[in-house]
């Protein structure tokens, strides 16, 4: 049975001023994923220093517009998800569902953009076998893209939950899904910087 979410949150706030958003499990996953990606980032930075000329030339072959637009799409998606969670906490399920739909469109835009970018590259004969830069670029972006697809599935479930009365457990699930989506955004910010900018 659905409980009054704002009241339940108020009780939690009384017991402790600082509240853990989402479930503990999602935070364990977040820090585990961050540890793995930290290794990836170190690998890219080291390869950049060791093969600087190859990296500079390869970077010029990337379409900067694709990288920038994908960053803006994920940042906007994250913002919409954050606003939706706030709306939901204040009992505005319909507005939250609308915000999540827009965030899903941002995520879908990212996937389409990535597919177009990769098609262009492969069409021009650039593959992971071209050099170390493109090997790291394709592999790490593919791992990230897998995160985006999982995140989109979470957003779809979150949106479905918003359209009916929700309880505290549902809110916890939605908060956890939101945290995962922000992780996807956070990881892309660094991949964009390492592959397209520096």
């Amino acid at each position: 049975m659905a409980t009054d979410v704002p009241s339940a949150l108020a009780v939690e706030q009384v017991h402790g001023q600082r509240r853990l958003p989402g479930e503990m499990g999602i935070w364990i996953f977040v820090f585990g994923d961050l540890a793995v990606f930290t290794l990836f980032f170190v690998l890219v930075a080291q390869a950049n220093v060791q093969q600087n000329e190859v990296f500079q030339q390869s970077r010029r072959m990337l379409d900067f517009g694709h990288g920038l637009s994908n960053t803006l799409l994920l940042l906007t998606g994250s913002w919409l998800v954050a606003l939706s969670v706030e709306k939901l906490r204040h009992g505005r399920g319909k507005q939250a569902a609308r915000g999540l739909l827009l965030a899903i469109l941002c995520g879908a835009g990212f996937v389409i953009n990535k597919m177009v970018e990769w098609s262009d590259k492969i069409g021009a004969g650039i593959t992971p076998a071209t050099n170390d830069f493109f090997m790291l670029f394709f592999v790490f972006c593919a791992i990230h893209l897998f995160h985006v697809v999982i995140g989109l599935a979470c957003l779809l479930i979150m949106r479905a939950k918003c359209t009916r009365p929700i309880g505290v457990a549902d809110l916890r699930f939605i908060e956890s899904g939101a945290i995962f989506w922000h992780l996807v955004d956070l990881l892309w910010i660094l991949l964009f910087c390492l592959f397209y900018l520096i």
């Binding site: 600082r18 509240r19 853990l20 958003p21 935070w27 977040v30 820090f31 961050l34 930290t38 980032f41 170190v42 930075a45 080291q46 950049n48 220093v49 500079q56 900067f64 920038l68 960053t71 803006l72 940042l75 906007t76 994250s78 913002w79 998800v81 954050a82 606003l83 706030e86 204040h90 939101a178 945290i179 922000h182 992780l183 955004d185 956070l186 910010i189 660094l190 964009f192 910087c193 390492l194 397209y196 900018l197 520096i198």
Partner: protein, 88 residues
């Protein structure tokens, strides 16, 4: 209550605007090619954006202090390590 809600929405939106502007500035600096020092500045800006995403969007600002501290320490340490690698 209305004021509190407006503050929450506004701070989230304000941080989104900061993230968008920082992205455009990094893109403008990075598009033309950079030396190692400029690369370090752009990398530091990226980690600043990451920190905002964590603190504001992931709501670590109101989470237990330990979680918030671990995240901030990770961002600071990883940023420092990558800059050290880049600067050689």
């Amino acid at each position: 209550m209305q004021t509190m809600r407006a503050t929450i929405v506004n701070s989230t939106t304000a941080m989104w605007l900061v993230l968008i502007v920082a992205t455009l500035i990094s893109g403008w600096i990075g598009e033309g090619g950079m030396d190692r020092r400029a690369s370090s500045v752009v990398l530091a800006m990226a980690f600043f954006k990451v920190w905002i995403v964590g603190i504001q969007f992931m709501e670590l600002r109101s989470a237990p202090r330990l979680l918030c501290s671990i995240f901030s320490a990770w961002a600071f340490a990883t940023c420092g390590a990558l800059i050290l690698i880049l600067l050689g």
